[in-house]
């Protein structure tokens, strides 16, 4: 759909955006005709081709694209941090008057971290686990400035204050594992901005973070950029983040520039087909018209009654546990046949634990009713129950055995349950493949031969093999590119209309939930704080936490005016408590027509 667009690299140099900057304002960074190739046995293969952009001081340029578009390779080429075997083969990267691609490593090292700094996607793994936060900050500062350890420590402290980290003195002596993901990303930002670089490259800086934390980190980046005048290159797949943060956007696909221009122009009048398709695929809050609630027919497919899941932790002298993680604390809900019920919340809220309890993977108390069978503990989750409730996980690559043919993987549930002959199972697998939009001929291939979206289709086919009444989809579309995500969501809807299967749809992504759910429950610290129809919860959110979540979602519309900043969000309290000291249960109050809200 975008082949034609991607060939139009001439569109890059439209009249609005001369690649060498506006007259009078010299760009701090300009990339001209950058081509990066990987060395293969068959000769160099280009990963990025003829990419050009210019960045002026204080400006934010977003490089947007789906996986494999070459956006990260572009940024690593600028930093001179390309992996072995990958090297720039043409073009220039000009920082002021210096071509970074021609610099020897020793001189490039002096620029890296000082004039061009970078932050990465994974805050959990981007810091050295065996060095204190302070030591890592001090090291970054002293690599470029001849300061004493004391002076550098003072600078490090200033940097931590600048990223609004609480208790900055204490943070200096803490190790990364003692900080949350959001705090670690602040440390990364502090480290990158401590030396006031001319250019900051942020590669998916908020993708691994919860939505409220993402909000804070984006606000922080915007404020710091304004205060320091640093130019920002923001690499992201999230068009919401692009719309909120960027002045200009460069859309990439398959290593080439598809389109470049001011954000408002690109969003309102995208020139390339690919950009149009990409923007159309982005899920948006409130985009789906309110649907009348589906008529509830028959007894519920799933009912949770006062579900409690906890894990003991800590060890006393005789190995007795001292603490308890209250993962799920008294959750009740019902799902009707053919209904999609979504659980939303941030990491650690207990939404995935509920999926695990239904599948019999964790011990629980309370009651789970699956298709009429009442389960009062993990032991009651028999094979028959598992047949009625199937799971689809987030990472299809990890959920498929790499050494098995996909046809066998899809037929395996049937074999386990002793259903049909070998030939019948094969026939069923073929039918399932067609149903989820994969060719029959693909049956004898191995998982690595498929793309991410195709693999998730295979997982869905496997889940359907036993004709389940309920599919628990735990972040099933979260790892997929938006265009693929949109197609998988459409497939899920089709399957539901056709087979009448119910979904328990677990997601952190409010916009995706808004596009698929009939009813929604918002979870916080193991409990439901608000539940009702999609229109009730998203159209008329009553609980402060629900509101905070919804307001934090980046809106893929540059004209969207964000409400004034919310109160500074605190870190979510720990669900780990001393044994015998369970958290207080929140009482849910009916606001009318089944819209239940926890009383604060």
């Amino acid at each position: 759909m975008s082949r034609t667009a991607s060939l139009r690299s001439g569109a890059v140099q439209g009249p609005d955006t001369p690649p060498d900057g506006s007259p009078g304002v010299a760009p701090v960074l300009s990339v001209e005709g950058l081509t990066v190739s990987v060395a293969t046995a068959a000769g160099p293969r280009p990963l990025v081709q003829e990419v050009s952009f210019a960045l002026r001081s204080g400006e934010t340029l977003a490089i947007a694209g789906e996986s494999g578009s070459g956006k990260s390779i572009t940024s690593l080429a600028v930093m001179g941090l390309l992996p072995p075997n990958v090297a720039p083969t043409a073009g220039r990267v000009m920082l002021g008057g210096t071509d970074l691609l021609r610099l020897p490593e020793r001189r490039m090292r002096a620029i890296r971290g000082d004039r061009v700094a970078m932050i990465f996607q994974e805050p959990m793994t981007s810091l050295n686990p065996v060095m204190t936060v302070g030591a890592q900050l001090v090291e970054a500062i002293r690599a470029h400035e001849p300061l004493s350890a004391r002076e550098a420590r003072g600078r490090a402290l200033d940097a931590l204050r600048a990223v609004r980290l609480s208790e900055p003195e204490r943070r200096l002596s803490q190790y990364p594992h003692e900080l949350s993901g959001g705090m670690r990303q602040r440390v990364m930002i502090a480290m990158a901005l401590a030396l006031r670089p001319d250019v900051l490259i942020a590669d998916e800086p908020t993708t691994a973070l919860d939505v409220t934390v993402q909000r804070e980190v984006l606000d922080l980046l915007r404020d710091l950029k304004r205060d320091t005048g640093t130019a920002l290159v923001l690499i992201t797949h999230d068009m919401g983040v692009v719309a909120e943060m960027a002045d200009r956007v460069l859309v990439m696909k398959d290593g080439r520039t598809v389109e470049e221009g001011p954000v408002a122009t690109v969003f309102e009048a995208p020139a390339a087909d690919y950009t149009r398709a990409l923007l159309a695929a982005v899920p948006r809050m409130g985009a789906r018209p309110p649907a009348p609630p589906r008529p509830v027919a028959g007894p519920p497919v799933l009912a949770l009654r006062d579900l409690v899941v906890g894990f003991d932790t800590g060890r006393g002298l005789l190995g007795r546990p001292t603490h308890r993680v209250h993962a799920v604390e008294g959750v009740s809900l019902t799902i009707a046949p053919g209904e999609t019920f979504a659980l939303v919340g941030e990491s650690g809220c207990g939404k995935s634990t509920i999926a695990r309890a239904i599948a019999g993977l964790v011990p629980f108390s309370g009651e789970i009713e699956v298709a009429g069978r009442i389960l009062r503990g993990q032991r009651d989750v028999t094979r028959a129950v598992r047949r009625d409730a199937q799971l689809v996980f987030q990472d299809p690559a990890a959920a498929l055995d790499p050494r098995m043919r996909v046809g066998d993987l899809v037929a395996e549930p049937l074999a386990i349950h002793g259903i049909g002959s070998r030939a019948e199972r094969r026939a069923k697998a073929e039918a399932l493949f067609e149903r989820v939009g994969l060719p029959r001929t693909a049956l004898d291939r191995y998982p690595h031969e498929f793309s991410g979206g195709q693999r998730q289709r295979i997982c869905i086919a496997r889940a359907l093999a036993l004709d389940p009444r309920l599919i628990v989809a735990d972040e099933s579309v979260s790892a997929l590119d938006v265009s693929v995500q949109a197609r998988v969501l459409a497939l899920l809807k089709e399957l539901q209309d056709e087979l009448g299967v119910s979904y328990l749809f677990i997601s952190h992504d409010m916009a995706v939930v808004d596009s698929i759910a009939d009813r929604v429950a918002v979870m916080y610290l193991g409990q439901i704080v608000e539940t009702g129809t999609r229109a009730q919860v998203f159209g008329d959110p009553r609980h402060p936490y629900t509101r905070r979540l919804i307001e934090a979602v980046p809106v893929p519309d540059p004209r969207h005016v964000r409400p004034p900043r919310l109160r500074e969000a605190r870190e979510i309290p720990s669900p780990v408590r001393r044994r015998g000291d369970p958290p207080a249960r929140m009482a849910l109050r009916d606001m009318g027509e089944g819209h239940l809200v926890a009383e604060a």
């Binding site: 930093m79 941090l81 090292r109 002096a110 620029i111 890296r112 971290g113 000082d114 700094a117 970078m118 990465f120 994974e122 793994t125 981007s126 810091l127 050295n128 686990p129 065996v130 060095m131 090291e139 970054a140 690599a143 470029h144 190790y175 594992h177 990364m188 480290m191 800590g314 060890r315 006393g316 002298l317 190995g319």
Partner: protein
Amino acid sequence: MALYLARRLLQSVLILLGVTFITFFLLYVLPADPVRQIAGRSATAQTVESIREQLGLDQPFWVQYGRYLWGLLHLDLGRSYLQRAEVAELIWARLPPTLLLMAAAIACEVAIGLTMGIWAALRRGTATDTGLMLASFAGVSAPQFVVGLLLLYVFGVWLRWLPIGGYGTFAHLILPALTLGLLGAGWYSRMMRSSMIEVLRQDFVRTARAKGLTRARVIVRHALPNAILPIVAMIGIDIGIFMGGIVVVESVFGWPGIGQLAWQAIQRVDIPIIMGVTLVSAVGIILGNLLADIVAPLIDPRITLR
């Protein structure tokens, strides 16, 4: 910490109890008769019986084992059948040479193994890497008595650089320590290489490079401390692996340690000494593991002792 040590101590006592039982039982069912060794070939049946009675070897298994445990409870390892000395004294006298040899061997294997491993990881895929890994493979596969005899021949007999056996000077220590350490060096170089390659791929190494640090600093300050973690746990286990090697190496080089003591005792079915050496080895292994566990959180702050 105190709680942790208390629990580990309790576990250790149970382990030691198990070790004494298994060893005692194996020696009991062994067809070799210690009394024959003591009495000599020409002894009459009457003499043999009286010695057996005197040593309590005519008693049923549980009585013998019970007596042994009772002695242990009073820190009494018993008397040697043949050497007319307390087992504890014999072991105590031979412990310093063995500990010295072990310490030197650990130093050898760590120094050689880690250097080779790091070097190979940094030169990954080159001829250097291949050569180093071939060498480590040889170290892992060659039996210690072969390595020992080879070193002995080359450096002791042929080049005449080092003494061929005995105890007393630093020169005496080199060959036995190398023989014992080369096996471990082979293992460590392979482990260190894969651990280092793994760590060099981590995100935080990329972060360190993005800061503009020198390559040397990225490796020494960031990669190395993380890569070395799995090795530390191995060093604790090593002491156990050494125990087998020490019997061989001490015999080859005439090193007057407990390995030699054990070897002689095994040949002569001197049960109290065999029991004593086994017990001391077990204590050594337990202490080695404990030490590794205590050191781990000093290197990796994510580990807590519970």
